[in-house]
Symmetry: C2
Subunit: 383 residues, 2 copies
């Protein structure tokens, strides 16, 4: 019998069959009327999901490419860029800013911390302001979802433009681009948007467009103006990954049919269920035990058990793919993703498999409670 596979990582995430069918459909030309219809719908739906009236620019690239577009379009060499970092992706944005020759200032936390608006205000004050601030909404490496509404408010107050990396949060947890005054929201196709990886996008406010006009970093493929001008004619500056756009369009339709609020509630319930199940096993959470952090549940590997071996055993025995820690957390934590096309039985499958594998690895855990606790928590949260 073919093995059943369970993709339970925080990206790429499982893709619904309707989306896979669109992705695997015969290719159509990127400048044909058929494609323009799909493309127009997709761009409009992206705006709805981002809760913005601004242009959302679409790139064939990973989320990192789209973040790079923000730095390349908003900064000139030597410009100060303040990056708030509390994990692997925050560190990546610091590195990216440096690679571009920005004067990168940091507000750096231990991995797993939740950035504080007061600290940001203080840091901006200390620096005498920063033209651009880069925030990470969901720090996928730790499971922390930051309070970007408050953080963005502080940065706007200090006169900064705000870029938010919403790669693993968009569509899973609330994010209101326009209402919260966020200038640039960057995301990707392969997380809560239930599409294979390969598309990144960036919403751009009018203030960001103003700065773009004078920013002198070299850029061509990721040049916003080139992309905006093409999109205005439902054209693309460069050949788009049409198959992925067709898939994304279907996925966005599915998401909007469920409704954004309903999707956010589902993610909260899934996150709560996963954390309660993990705790019922007697394991210690690395993720914050709070409803906002509904993207990924990070768990300390029990004493004497290497997280990498747990992950390997889950995959080899049961076809269950979860993922380990990044950087300094390698081997120390494992992470269960639950963004996008997930229901409670994905969580109970992960917990059931995990329980068995940990027991066999000799971990001292409570057995027989996790699945029931998760299911009850989920049902309770959904009432």
């Amino acid at each position: 019998m073919p093995e059943k596979r369970y993709l339970l990582t925080p990206g790429p995430t499982p893709v619904p069959p309707e989306v896979l069918a669109a992705v695997g459909a015969p290719v159509i030309h990127h400048r044909s009327p058929d494609f323009r219809r799909i493309y127009g719908d997709c761009l409009e739906r992206l705006g709805t999901v981002c809760r913005t009236d601004s242009d959302v620019l679409l790139f064939t690239a990973s989320g990192t490419g789209a973040v790079e577009s923000a730095v390349a379009n908003l900064c000139s060499p030597g410009d100060r860029l303040l990056v708030v970092s509390a994990g692997y992706f925050g560190e990546r944005w610091i590195e990216l800013g440096r690679a571009y020759g920005c004067d990168v200032a940091e507000l750096r936390y231990e991995w797993g911390a939740s950035p504080s608006p007061d600290d940001l205000a203080e840091r901006l004050d200390e620096l005498g302001g920063a033209p651009v601030v880069l925030l990470t909404h969901s720090e996928t490496s730790t499971g922390v979802v930051a309070d970007v509404q408050s953080l963005a408010a502080v940065a706007k107050e200090a006169g900064s433009l705000v870029i938010v990396d919403a790669v693993s949060s968009l569509g899973a947890v609330p994010l209101q681009t326009d209402a919260w005054g966020i200038d640039v929201v960057v995301s990707g196709s392969q997380k809560a948007l239930m599409t294979p990886p390969g598309l990144g996008f960036a919403s751009v406010s009018s203030a960001a467009w103003e700065r773009q006009g004078t920013a002198t970093m070299p850029r061509f493929y990721f040049d916003w103006a080139r992309t905006r001008d093409a999109q205005a004619k439902l054209d693309s500056a460069f050949t788009l990954a049409v198959s992925l756009v067709a898939g994304l369009n279907v996925a966005l339709e599915l998401l909007l049919e469920e409704g954004l609020e309903a999707a956010f509630e589902r993610h909260v319930a899934l996150g709560r269920a996963c954390r309660e199940g993990v705790k019922a096993m007697g394991l210690e959470l690395f993720s914050p035990d709070e409803d906002r952090s509904a993207v990924v549940t990070a768990v300390h590997s029990p004493e004497g058990v290497d997280a990498a071996e747990v992950i390997l055993a889950l995959r080899d025995r049961f076809g269950i793919q979860i993922i380990g820690g990044q950087g300094a957390l390698k081997g120390k934590i494992f992470r269960i993703g639950h963004i996008g096309w997930f229901n409670i039985f994905d969580i109970t499958t992960a917990l059931a498999g995990l329980e068995l594998v940990l027991a066999e690895a000799g971990a001292e855990i409570e057995r027989g409670f996790a699945v029931t606790r998760a299911l009850e928590t989920y049902e309770g949260a959904r009432v």
Copy 2:
């Protein structure tokens, strides 16, 4: 009955069902052992198709992104970059070099000309050399396939590093990266490689790596060293478009099963058949009537007939998608692509539809000869 569609453009091109099945298969994690196997095979096959022992670096991007990677990794601001241009894509590379702040020198031809090695030698002499020369192998806008072997030899003789844009040529017409001393061959997934758009790649010689180490253009997403280091561990610097990589791997397997030489011969025969069919209708070729130019057949629209209307009619009446001219050639020519998964009946379908549509538009053409002539030419060429 669902309409049958015929994608007869020089990219994106038709994708075989085996490849579509891989593209539309459930997503697997980009750091899982399952994906690493696919990824390793794919990278190795790319090297075989490029005929190089050097690293071939894979990016989630269009071909333009991969060309940009070459400029960003080989140049520092103010470096001289000599671009040989005889069409739309040559012009794009001039613009790209300027966007990056290179000191762009040009060897510019009328669109449709075939660049001459003697001119290149003279231009390099005039300039006192150029550290980097950028050539276009197949100028998709005009149908000309340049003699890059001779052009590259001249540039190497003058001490330049040579980048070749082989986006629409790789896998369709002969290209020997190592034997011809080409430092960087850039291509994409959506042409002769029979895969949907979204993947670009670049092969990098040891001389190019040497220059890369000192080139100071800002780069992160397209940084070659970052990608090479990840690929060495069958990892990727950023989340790859795993679905497209899975498809490309199948497509490369199909191409290598046919054999590169057999594929080149098939393309020569298809190109010859298409040109003979077009001429049998009494139309005038814009493409060169030579076997090397086997990627796309460009045709002057007959007196008084707007190419755009011909293209629209073919699509609306018959589901046949061909494409018009770019830039100054808009409305004046139409182009029939025949790279990748094409056989003679794709050509005869295009010719049959075209004949009818042109006759209805009032063009004075010969009717009843094109299909037979094309088929006979193809069979003759294949004996």
